[in-house]
Symmetry: C2
Subunit: 359 residues, 2 copies
């Protein structure tokens, strides 16, 4: 059963929860905006469905609701930001603002972030740059769920990479992807429905392929993009490693198996090599390379050429990266955001706890 809520209803609700855990008005508004952007764009796994998860981490004092986020190291175009254990939902936009300011002055800006938490969808942060006619980059490491090629250990997160480009008459082109074969959100959907997953998404506790969506609970792992060595899983591993190094090793955050878990019932490592989780954000002015209008005209041409490509099958059209999310956003802004009952129940538990009106 699904329930559909107007954006404004979920926005007020989410904001009030962040206020209830003592976020400032500004932070509550921003964190809400990041979560709602995810729900609007159809990425249900990263929106209000995670709200109670953030609250549980706050209860365990693993999220600081009143962080002192600051730059701890910098050059004209690079910086490291310490998130002071704040919500990644506010730390990452802070860091992206730093990158954008540097790019305004010097052409590009690059910020590695330590001591943060889950930052929501990477696309939110990358799009901040696009609004300034810049190319946006956003990555984060995450709780270890993925076994690198040939291993039987969870050593990497689904470590997403996002690249976002401003177009002219078309919406921004946004590549926002987990570097695993399947995003964890897709696995969760299969778990709820009890359906088998395709071979190549996960391995079981012995390291063999399995189609059982629950295998992660019994020692299994997600697989890197490429699925197996023959199909390039070492490339998915390499991309995920890149995200981990830029986000975690470069900033002084944790990395690899030491990245703290998002779920509050799992304890972080006892002797971690860094602080919190790490992100990496970047912005480059398009007109640092050529006039922005020229770039946009060519990107429009690129998009048109790919959209008009000959397809294998008439029923499946070419999908320009970012297009499905924008379609969802337009639809949900008008028709509301559907939530599964489990999420509604979860949010109503928060409502009861904080004395807010139930959904």
């Amino acid at each position: 059963m699904q329930n559909v809520y107007p954006e404004a209803t979920l926005r007020k609700f989410t904001h009030d929860v962040f206020i209830a855990i003592s976020c400032s008005e500004e932070h509550a508004r921003l964190a809400t905006d990041v979560l709602l952007k995810s729900d609007l764009r159809g990425i249900d796994s990263h929106g209000v469905a995670r709200l109670s998860g953030y609250v549980r981490l706050w209860e365990k004092q693993r999220i600081n609701a009143t962080p002192n986020i600051q730059i701890v190291h910098e050059t004209p175009t690079t910086a490291t930001v310490d998130g002071d254990a704040g919500l990644g939902l506010v730390v990452a936009p802070f860091a992206m603002q730093v990158a954008i300011k540097k790019a305004q002055q010097y052409g590009s800006g690059w910020v590695s972030v330590r001591n943060s938490n889950h930052f929501g969808i990477a696309g939110y942060h990358a799009l901040m740059a696009v609004e300034q006619d810049m190319i946006g980059f956003a990555m984060t490491n995450a709780s270890p769920l993925v076994a690198p090629t040939f291993t039987n250990e969870r050593l990497l997160g689904t470590n997403p990479m996002c690249y976002a480009f401003p177009a002219g008459k078309y919406p921004p082109l946004i590549v926002d992807m987990a570097t695993s074969a399947a995003a964890n959100g897709k696995l969760e959907i299969a778990q709820r429905s009890g359906k088998a997953v395709p071979e190549g998404w996960i391995q079981d506790a012995t390291g063999q392929y399995t189609t059982n969506p629950h295998a992660l609970k019994t020692g299994g792992a997600l697989l890197p993009l490429g699925s197996d060595r023959e199909h390039g899983s070492h490339k998915g591993f390499g991309l995920s490693a890149t995200v981990d190094i830029l986000s975690g090793v470069l900033s002084g955050a944790n990395y690899g198996p030491w990245v703290p878990p998002f779920v509050a019932f799992m304890e972080p490592s006892a002797n971690p090599p860094g602080q919190g989780i790490g992100h990496f954000l970047g912005a480059m002015r398009v007109d640092g390379f050529r006039p922005a209008d020229d770039f946009k005209a060519n990107l429009d041409n690129w998009i048109e050429r790919f959209k008009s490509a000959k397809t294998v099958d008439d029923t499946q059209k070419v999908v320009i990266p970012g297009e499905p999310e924008l379609e969802a956003e337009q639809d949900r802004k008008t028709h509301g955001i559907p939530l599964v009952q489990a999420v509604v129940d979860d949010l109503n538990t928060l409502a009861d706890r904080f004395g807010l009106q139930r959904l």
Copy 2:
């Protein structure tokens, strides 16, 4: 049958061929260094095996052996370089030097390149940054061979991405990968041996999976990393699109299906939207984020943790990105570079033509 040649022999031979097509001494030396680095590192498809291909493009006046490579647009940390139709083997190192200089002064440097040609292995250029204690980025677009998800047209090249990081006691960690499921070089090996390729590497002229390695000659295409939609081919498409946009659209080079072919017998598009092929190169000072020794100590720890990971199967160890190439380099520096007979014959044809000593 294989023949093994000392590095110095192939270096002199290659250098003399570049001189014969009227490259300057400096360019001949540099282009040779890029090709030999590929052969040394075991990437046989991108080394001297391609030398006659460059010569044929020069004969067709599609490569300018005496280019005036220059910066045509810049900010303190960004630039666009016009390669004047020169060898990518010399244009890309020029651009990376620009990026490194900017990084020395401002923390990072980013250069998009137009009007270039095939630049050899991406790793060569990224490693130039690593030698300066910087993180190196290198990408290039390439002749269209890959069909994006759901399409039945070759619209993208194998568009490689490379990220290279300096470690402490370990060699640099280098992710250098085609964004297709299989690199074209691997397909060529299968074509020579006549062996079937795994499902998921290529599609035939009707857009269906095929294991026939020759399917590209009859209207087929390589597939993006991920192979099919269910296993994330839209991610491989997204990564390849990112490379194409940063290299081609951002610089004013060609992009998508208009990228000129490497093989001289295929004519470039009649009305291309840009100039030549495009690259994108970047360098970021590690100490722009934290002291380089701290970064290297953590990266060493990262490498050690991953190397010691529990494996699925005792016979297959965890491979740290860049490690196999370094092992090949150490071996081939000592024991020589093996070439298949077809490559030796090809080089000897060049020898006869330019009056050089045969191999």
